[in-house]
């Protein structure tokens, strides 16, 4: 399946994400999920970034929390709400919110 995961939290949900598999997997950090894309805890990037997936982060949520694209790990592509609509209709078929 082509699965898009909207990761909206920082402290929970990784256990569920870890086990998910999909032929094509996209992980979009939104809401408090954006800390996975920006913060290095104890010097380490989030283990979520080690999956075989395409990563995105929602610019609006990034900026609302005091970050910019410059703070984002290079594996992750910043996207706007506008871009996200295209991801939803063109790139992935099923979506889940964690």
């Amino acid at each position: 399946m082509k699965l898009g995961v909207l990761m909206s939290d920082f402290r929970t949900g990784s256990d569920v994400l870890d086990r998910l598999s999909a032929e094509k997997l996209g992980i979009i950090f939104v809401g408090n999920g954006i800390y996975h894309a920006t913060v290095k805890e104890g010097g380490k990037t989030s283990p979520i970034l080690e999956k075989s997936a395409t990563y995105y982060v929602l610019t609006e949520d990034l900026e609302s929390r005091g970050f910019t694209s410059a703070n984002v790990d290079s594996r992750i592509k910043p996207v706007t709400y506008n871009d996200m609509v295209d991801l939803i209709f063109n790139e992935y078929e099923k979506f889940i919110w964690i």
């Binding site: 949520d61 609302s64 506008n82 996200m84 609509v85 295209d86 939803i88 078929e93």
Partner: protein
């Protein structure tokens, strides 16, 4: 052009999860898609009329009115969730509907994409 059904269970007025939902719906409608929004749990309150705009709470009523006017957006509130919160039929925002939960499943039936925002 496709149809997106978004269901929101337990988002909070004053949290950004409901804002997310409305902004995504707006972006989708602008691109010519149709969006159904189902609000249940605490998110039900999004469809109540008379919400006062404060700078500390996202004021989404205006955006929703704009979306309803396009004809490509529907918002439906969970009837039981509303009643349990003391919010009755006559308090529903103009243009919004109230149905039982099966409405949401029917909307999913004809949707190309479903985004379900479950727990908090």
């Amino acid at each position: 052009m496709g149809k997106l059904t978004i269901g929101c269970f337990a988002s909070l007025v004053g949290s950004v999860s409901l804002d997310f939902t409305v902004k995504l719906a707006e972006a989708a409608v602008k691109k010519g898609h149709k969006v159904d929004l189902w609000v249940s749990g605490n998110a039900t309150m999004l469809s109540k009329k008379g919400q006062r705009a404060f700078k500390d709470y996202s004021a989404l009523q205006k955006t929703i009115n704009g979306l309803l006017e396009t004809g490509n957006f529907q918002m439906t509130a969970c009837e039981a969730c509303a009643e349990a919160r003391g919010y009755h039929k006559e308090d529903t925002m103009e243009g919004c509907k109230r149905f039982s939960m099966d409405w949401y499943l029917a909307s999913c039936f004809s949707a190309d994409r479903v985004l379900h925002i479950g727990g908090d």
